[in-house]
Symmetry: C3
Subunit: 201 residues, 3 copies
């Protein structure tokens, strides 16, 4: 028993618990074209559309960037906040810093034909994530009200690839016990429903 | 063959390898009440209790925060260290910084009814994680001796929701080949057993 | 519909979509010996070898560090860049900082017998990741051309354990629709094939 935090602060609410028998595996690569050196590109609607169109009803989605200077992160799609994020990344990993990786005279092959002095981009990436794994409920990413999933370009503009791998679980007697339209909170995405009750950021 | 690091430094030890046929999918939402602006709330015991009570024996647990200013991270539950973490987060993402997101006059709707000037909280979140995925072995999170899983409040006090999604795999002939009580190391959690041999942080 | 980014920038390409019936669960612990205080140890080849030798053909791999001062991250195995990463980590989490965790007189038990003043190592870890989850395609980690998976030692030298948990999906009629040798890009790893078309970092 951990004494730092009383367990009374943490209350479980069971949503579903049952056995599933058949797995549907689904892979898709999203081609993403960035236009700025640092850019947050919101993939949420495209992923939800894919889940719905391909019958991926309940399962798990892993959104995986195939690049070392483009990351995947979940946060809020608020325009001013995204500017703050860019400023923070530039402050923590300044472009003008004296990086070893940018000294092409010392680099050993292979070097990418389109390589730029981009050590700051790799450094930003190290502080972010290559992938996010998200539960899927009723053919939607089970995100909170303010959560959106982004590909974060750190060395743009470039053409990028994001791998979406979904596992879904199907069985004859499947019935989720959560309400499909659990609350009336506004959401940034049209048609979004929130099966959970808390809209705090 | 990567020449930077000799493969002799990396030794595999096979634990188990076999086929499984039936999947148990389980979802639970933990309601978590924070009391401080920045607070590390240890969820490990509650999650382990849930795994045990619901027969989730071997599989994978994804612990997912439904918020853009509350993160999930694994580290050590050492009281002084958690203070160091808070100081580092405040140093990297200062509250008093001049953030665009906090200028409500320029914000476009929707804005959460309980929105506060919290750009620093979102920035801290960007440096942390929305979720952690952890192997489950014998109805316990297969954590190392010093690892504990935290919800990290970054804009408290608030009521939060943490989604625990578990996949477990069951078959008639299931038998894990790891010892249930592999070592005698002390642990912060009562009843914890460590099926692996290394207690280094 | 998110108005910040037009959906025309994001193009999906379906790779595969079909039902799978049987799951192969596989666990292995890699013992990793580090030699430096901060060190990036490339695990990619050993993991790929394991996948191939154990018939883990299509599925998902979770690479999980069992330590609070050793992380798992994906980035590029470029020697000079790894030096830049170390410098950034030391700059963001300086060793000489005055940390509470390093004041042994105030620490409560249990304390690891081999504990060192390592608050900076824990702080670096908080900014990195405990695990990475990667799709497996045709018995290989489905990484981009420049991506390699590292255990990042932050408090070495030490003996470490990295847990590799693989889920793989098998069925009689399995046939992936992606080319096995999709492009001709150079790669750091001998025998590596890239089933996708984009080699941008
Ligand atoms: Zn580069
Ligand atoms: Zn906000
Ligand atoms: Zn320590």
């Amino acid at each position: 028993m951990n004494t730092l935090y009383p367990s009374s602060k943490i209350t479980p609410r069971i949503i579903t618990s049952g056995s599933r028998h058949s797995i549907l595996l689904s892979d898709v690569i999203f081609k993403v074209r960035s236009e700025e050196p640092i850019e947050f590109i919101d993939l949420t609607d495209q992923i939800n559309r894919h889940l719905l169109e391909h019958g991926i009803r309940n399962g798990t989605a892993t959104v995986f960037s195939r690049h070392t200077t483009a990351a995947i992160k979940i946060n809020e799609a608020e325009e001013l906040l995204l500017e703050d994020f860019k400023q923070m990344l530039r402050r923590l990993c300044p472009v003008e810093h004296d990086y070893h990786h940018n000294d092409m005279s010392r680099r050993k092959p292979p070097i990418a034909p389109d390589e730029r002095p981009n050590a700051h981009s790799h450094c930003m990436h190290l502080l972010l994530s290559t992938s996010e794994t998200i539960p899927v409920v009723e053919s939607r990413l089970a995100l909170g009200t303010w959560q959106r999933i982004f590909m974060v370009e750190l060395d743009g503009p470039r053409e990028r690839e994001v791998h979406l791998r979904c596992h879904s679980y199907v069985s004859s007697g499947f019935e989720l016990e959560i309400p499909a339209n659990g609350n009336g909170h506004g959401s940034r995405s049209s048609g979004s429903t929130e099966p959970y009750s808390n809209s705090a950021k």
